[in-house]
């Protein structure tokens, strides 16, 4: 996927990205301060927002196979189960009940299968949102801070799930996170945003350890990416 001369104005805030390539099959990290344009860029990629100018070239990727899990996921006014199978329902795919039960059991949601989804805790809603995002086997997944509210145990499960999916199908991921260990653990490349601009892109080691950009350097120091240096 390539982004060329992308521009979007939202009130006083604007996104201006001359070029960004997201290599297929890689796990990309979008990092930067709050309000730097990570989520807006992700929404433009996911077709939630339409650009004012520029192009997003999906290079053969179908828009229906791009999905996004938000920091505050939208829960349908129905049960956990109905929320989970919604992507299958709209694709006329019959849910594999055994597989769904096993999945809910693994992620500690089986007991709450028939419960009203909006009554789940925020962490449980994020787990459900991630599972719902992945259930229809998308080709491009954007995870916007969804991993941040998970317990250490759940986070490990999802990290393993991501690796498992990568081994089997090698899809493209964009992870948006303020948590350095998530980016460090999972991402191949990172893209640093500041004030609506993409100011640095590259392999994570290069951005974290060798960036010459003062904004990136300050952010990295603050986020304790120095750990990577030591490692």
């Amino acid at each position: 996927m390539r982004i060329i001369n992308l521009k979007k104005q939202l009130g006083r805030f604007s996104i201006d990205i001359p070029y960004l390539a997201l290599a297929k099959g890689c796990i990309h990290g979008f990092i930067g301060e709050n309000g730097s344009g990570k989520t807006t860029t992700a929404k433009l990629i996911a077709n939630i927002l339409q650009p004012d100018e520029g192009q997003i070239l999906y290079d053969g990727l179908e828009p229906r196979s791009i999905t996004m899990s938000s920091q505050k996921p939208y829960m349908l006014h129905t049960s956990v189960y109905e929320n989970l199978i919604y992507p299958l329902k709209i694709r006329n795919i019959k849910p594999d009940e055994k597989a769904i039960d096993a999945m809910l059991q693994k992620y500690d949601l089986y007991e709450k299968k028939k419960q009203y989804a909006r009554s789940l805790s925020s962490g449980e809603q994020q787990k459900l949102s991630l599972l719902r995002t992945l259930i229809f086997q998308p080709e491009f997944v954007i995870v916007d801070e969804t991993l941040s509210n998970l317990s250490a145990e759940s986070l490990e499960l999802f990290e393993n799930l991501i690796w498992e999916i990568q081994k089997k199908r090698c899809i493209t991921w964009v992870l948006i996170s303020h948590q350095p260990h998530i980016i460090n653990e999972l991402c191949d490349t990172v893209h640093f945003f500041s004030n609506g601009r993409l100011i640095e892109s590259g392999r994570k080691e290069q951005v974290f350890l060798h960036s010459q950009n003062p904004i990136v350097k300050t952010y990295v120091q603050r986020q304790a990416f120095g750990l990577l240096k030591e490692g």
Binding site: K43, A46, N47, I48, P63, R64, S65, I66, T67, M68, S69, S70, Y74, L76, H77, Y86, P87, I90, R91, Y116, R118, S119, R132, T133, F136, P138
Partner: protein, 229 residues
């Protein structure tokens, strides 16, 4: 026992029974049509961007406060024998009263659905896009996600329909057994000094209003309980 017997006599009285039947028929027909119109208009107003949209929203808000008797007069002028719609012979019929009610109720439902859609629909649409839903699937999902609010809007419209007096009096003509509603019957009974029947109809209307209010509140309560579990 005397009170019960008297109530039964009043209730089984042909005139009163007809007034209840006419009221319910008129209210159900007008609310059904207004619900379709109001839901579609409310959602379209939220989704479509066109010049004059704000003016249209203001006009709709203005119609919320329009005196029913003015609507009655306008519909009367439209339906009278020499009026633009005189050929349809709808004056002094339930259909004519339904037309007047639609003009009163549709803006109420439109306004309520628009307000709910304004706050709910963008999040539903964003979610639907990320799930890969088609435009049609997104529309269905938007309506489904607002179902409690839509029920509430319809119940509010129904409450307004059964309690209306000004427009139905003008357009319906208060003809016994044909266009006499509970409210117009109360007005007539009061002017004739027949208070017992008038009060009985008033109590019946209050019971309907209570049932509707209870239904509307139970929808909202269910919503709140689910949200704040």
């Amino acid at each position: 026992m005397d009170i019960i017997n008297e109530a039964m006599r009043i209730f089984t009285d042909a005139g009163i029974g007809d007034a209840v039947r006419v009221t319910l028929a008129m209210a159900l027909a007008s609310v059904t049509i207004s619900a379709f119109l109001g839901i579609a208009l409310g959602i379209l107003l939220e989704q479509c961007h066109f010049p004059g949209k704000r003016i249209l929203i203001r006009i709709n808000h203005t119609l919320l406060g329009i005196p029913p008797v003015v609507v009655g007069l306008l519909v009367y002028l439209l339906l009278m024998r020499n009026g633009p719609l005189g050929a349809f012979a709808l004056l002094f019929t339930i259909k004519g009263m339904v037309l007047a009610q639609i003009i009163i109720i549709t803006p109420i439902i439109t306004s309520m659905v628009y307000s709910y859609a304004f706050t709910t629909a963008p999040a539903v649409r964003a979610f639907a896009v990320t799930m890969g839903a088609s435009k049609w699937q997104t529309q269905i999902l938007t309506i489904k996600e607002m179902k409690y609010e839509i029920y509430f809007a319809i119940v509010t419209g129904f409450g307004r329909a059964i309690s209306e007096v000004g427009s139905v009096m003008l357009v319906g003509g208060n003809i016994e057994g044909r266009t006499r509603t509970m409210t117009t019957a109360i007005s007539m009974l009061k002017s004739q000094g027949i208070y017992t029947e008038g009060v009985t109809l008033g109590v019946l209307l209050l019971v309907f209003a209570f049932i509707l209010q209870w239904a509307a509140e139970s929808f909202q309560k269910r919503e709140l309980e689910n949200e704040n579990y």
